[in-house]
Symmetry: C2
Subunit: 142 residues, 2 copies
């Protein structure tokens, strides 16, 4: 999670929305790590979670069922869907996102039994640092 937060800080310095994500396999192997790149790629879909999940799946894995995803901000609806479809079993995120989050805020999608995949979810890790970065970013933008 410290690496995810460091990536979020790098994003901040590059004028990207400061969110970082890290995908770890079997508790030790770093499979992918990135930050939001919506500005650089001029693509509103380039969320940190999407970049790391798609990179890991490019390596020929069908599912990410032995991975843990660390992300500094509560995943949105698209990223919650990516987590379900790629069958990640464990998600650890930092700050809640009351405006767009779908892992407790707008929806609690990862705990909704109507879906065929319900990962374990842990929230609040380095939440204050993650939220402060986002607050500073949007203050700078105004």
């Amino acid at each position: 999670m410290k690496l995810a937060l460091q990536l979020a800080k790098e994003a901040f310095d590059k004028d990207e929305v400061p969110v970082g994500a890290v995908l770890i396999r079997d508790g030790t192997e770093l499979l992918a790590a990135d930050h939001n790149r919506t500005a650089e790629l001029k693509n509103s879909l380039a969320h940190a979670e999407k970049l790391v999940i798609e990179r890991a799946l490019q390596d020929g894995l069908k599912y990410l069922s032995d991975c843990t995803l660390y992300v500094t901000l509560e995943p949105c609806i698209m990223c919650s869907g990516l987590i379900i479809l790629s069958r990640i079993p464990r998600i650890i995120f930092g700050a809640h996102d009351s405006k767009a989050g779908c892992v407790g805020s707008i929806y609690n999608a990862l705990r909704n039994k109507d879906f065929n995949w319900n990962p374990e979810v842990c929230s609040g890790l380095l939440a204050e640092e993650s939220a402060a970065l986002l607050r500073d970013f949007f203050k700078k933008k105004r």
Copy 2:
């Protein structure tokens, strides 16, 4: 929608989940059209809607705010998120998907006012033909 259904039939013939999607700009211009390619690409994320939305955004568009998305099956949670984030204003889909659909089935995400984008949604167009293809596909798979 007839083109989307034709693409779904092509998918069926290629042993792909038979779902087709078409993205039209300004009511006339065909921006992208494709079918599900999860088998060919060995990627569980390769839904028809995702392929057409990402192709259209690759052309340098920031948002798809003058587009209509036609898709033969109710979008899942990931694809509902892609629709919201790419700001497509109009979605027309065929069959409902009680197991994974998030535009009326599990969630009604595109009409949820908590999100900052609520497209117009129309369902049921060529629904019987779209659903029959899927039924035949999963019957064949069993």
